[in-house]
Amino acid sequence: MNATAEPDYATATLDMVLFTAGGWRVGLEARHVCGSRPALSLSADPRSTATADAATWFGLTPMDEMPAARQCLTLKPLPPDDVREIQVAVPVDLVSLPARVIHALPPLLAARTRLLGLRALALAADPLGTDRLILLFDTTRLRACPPSS
């Protein structure tokens, strides 16, 4: 009988969908995202509810003007008939984030943040080598808070 091997967190990666919301770089686990389409096109899923602005749903105050290009991300149904779509700003990227750059919220921050879905922080270098903060959200925590269109 083979035991499940413990992943090597020093080299492990986590697939994330990164996008911009309210001027912040935000990430969701890729396993929670089941589709993406340009914001102006119609959803192919008849079960989908009205699309909500991700920044509003996450509780992020927009920092600057929204760019013109936006995408709709379809979130994995949870429960099966609860299809949610959120509107985000491009670029939308599917990346493999090294586990070593992902950090739990420091305890004082976790205690005082008003962002209910904020789950972790990532510090990843941009193409110029400068560390940038990425806010990692868990949409399952926000499911109890229906997004408003």
Binding site: G22, W24, G59, L60, T61, R100, H103, A104, P106, P107, L108, L109, A111, R112, T113, R114, L115, L118, L121, L123, D131, L133, L135
Partner: protein, 170 residues
Amino acid sequence: MSEITLDQVLTQRRDASKEIVNVDVPAVKLVIFALGDQWFAFYGERIREILAQANVFFVPGCPASLEGVINVRGDIESVMRPHDMLRLSDSHIGRNAAILLGRGAGMSSGIRVDRVIDVVDVPQSSIQPPPATLPEHLRHLVLGVLRFQAQPVAVLNLDQMFADYARGLG
């Protein structure tokens, strides 16, 4: 010709040293710092590092007293400003500002201070109980008071500060 001998000199020195009573005075290490023009201290055992400069990443959705997070050799730590909790006017972060990495109430965090005065060993006996005239909001945060360089210094309870902050105070 001298009136005394070498033996006498050495004997005298030996006898004199016997009169010195060596008393081990309990001492504690304090990290003394300034917030505005007031001086405070933490017990040294609570402070694991002093950072002169750090790039603080602002995190949205937090109170103003939570400055952000810093990267300390690959670990993320929060940075809190104690000014609100201590009801001090929040001063502009000057060039002498520093971050104390503290541990209390089972949590760790950076604490923004305006200036680190010194890290010293002081006799435990020099720390007096908090005076009855201490303002209400400080009474449960101050462990004791002492004088350092002719300045009054309040020794703060980091356990209580972090616990209060996590509960939403400050």
